[in-house]
């Protein structure tokens, strides 16, 4: 297998991806084309919140070149995941968690387009998820390989889009919603770092006929709690996320 792109119907790994996801009831990619809006923390907190609510949950960090969900979860990446006819995602805080960081170990890993797609196909082919009520997927910003792979491989996915009330984020998310609505059913939009003074995110939802799932207030303490599950769960951020989790 060389660096040349392999069409989907010629790639043997693609044949098994549907089976690997066969035990997953609902797939919720957490997406935003704008960086810095809090996708990773929303993904991690939603996974932990749904687990606390008694659901079986998986979390896949699909940011291939810049994974960071493990940092929020406080994982040290010392050991490789267990193997049993494939890779079993280790459990953290009751959540089955898979990331390429187990193998890249926080080293810089610059990849070009097809290499990212190649890594995604490999991970999806070898990861053995258990029976899950929810698989959350943390995705990188932009509209590039990982986003297109979510649309291609995770069907039926229900994207959960994260926005802030910055006009820059609104314009970016608007483009993303247009794309996602062509392909998938968008679960809704979460407003992060909400101040209450702006209705931009709600207006965006109305304009594009998607659900406004709720607001997460700006939490100035949250960065100091990353890496500690107890710290995250004691935050106002997590309380707001739990309110949203109950609606999913």
């Amino acid at each position: 297998m060389s660096s040349a792109y392999i069409p989907l119907d010629e790639d043997f790994r693609v044949s098994v991806i549907g089976r690997r996801l066969g035990g997953v009831k609902r797939i919720l990619p957490v997406m935003s084309s704008k960086g810095g809006v809090g996708k990773t923390l929303v993904s991690v907190s939603l996974a932990l919140a749904l687990s606390d609510l008694g659901r079986k949950v998986g979390l896949l960090d699909l940011d291939i070149t810049n994974p960071s969900a493990h940092v929020a979860l406080g994982m040290k990446l010392k050991d490789l995941p267990e193997e049993e006819k494939g890779v079993k995602p280790p459990e953290v805080g009751g959540v089955e968690f898979m990331t390429i960081a187990y193998y890249t170990k926080d080293n810089p890993t610059p990849l070009r387009g097809w290499e990212i797609d190649n890594a995604v196909r490999e991970i999806l082919a070898i990861t053995i998820w258990g029976e899950l009520d929810y698989l959350l997927i943390d995705t990188p910003p932009g509209m590039s390989d990982e986003l297109l792979d979510v649309i291609t491989f995770f069907k039926p996915a229900e994207p959960l889009v994260v926005a802030t009330n910055s006009p820059l984020a609104i314009k970016s998310v608007e483009r993303l919603l247009k794309l996602l609505k062509e392909e998938l059913t968008v679960k809704g939009v979460v407003e992060n770092m909400a101040s209450g003074a702006s209705s931009l995110v709600k207006d965006l939802c109305t304009a594009h006929s998607v659900s406004y799932l709720g607001a997460i207030g700006f939490d100035p303490q949250i960065d100091s709690k990353l890496g500690s599950l107890e710290g995250i769960k004691s935050s106002s951020f997590f309380r707001d996320v739990t309110r949203i989790a109950r609606k999913l």
Partner: protein, 130 residues
């Protein structure tokens, strides 16, 4: 033994490719050096999974493909013989070959902007049904 997971994917692909035939005359699979696949485990896994699907195979050929990497910056081409990769790192690359970018740089110019020209991983070369 994540070779088993790859074998499952190979068998799924082969089932589609032969369209209902139960007997495979020949299956040729290339094993890229970078992924360090255990040939015997993969052979065992493919054979067992085919058996469990009620299928059989006459000739399963697993052929090694040397890894060749090429720098996108300076154009230098090199093989794994030119660089040092300890067992622990080979194990990490074994699972996701793109992890090679985390551990190697072009031996000539030091850039991580290189491509794997060949020998990345597992590739189906030929499937022939009887």
């Amino acid at each position: 033994m994540h070779e088993w997971a790859l074998a499952e994917a190979i068998v799924e692909y082969v089932k589609d490719a032969v369209g209902g035939h139960r007997k495979i005359k020949r299956l040729v699979v290339a094993l890229g050096e970078l992924q360090s696949i255990d040939e015997e485990i993969l052979r065992f896994s493919i054979t067992e999974i085919l058996k469990s699907e009620g299928m059989s195979i006459d000739d399963l050929q697993l052929i090694e493909e040397e890894a060749v990497l090429r720098c996108r910056r300076c154009g230098h081409e090199w093989s794994l013989k030119e660089v040092s990769l300890d067992e622990e790192i080979r194990e990490l690359i074994h699972f996701v070959p793109e992890a090679v970018h985390s551990y190697l740089k072009c031996p000539k110019c030091g850039s991580r902007d290189f491509e794997v020209v060949k020998g990345r991983g597992v590739k189906i070369v030929e499937v022939v049904a009887e």
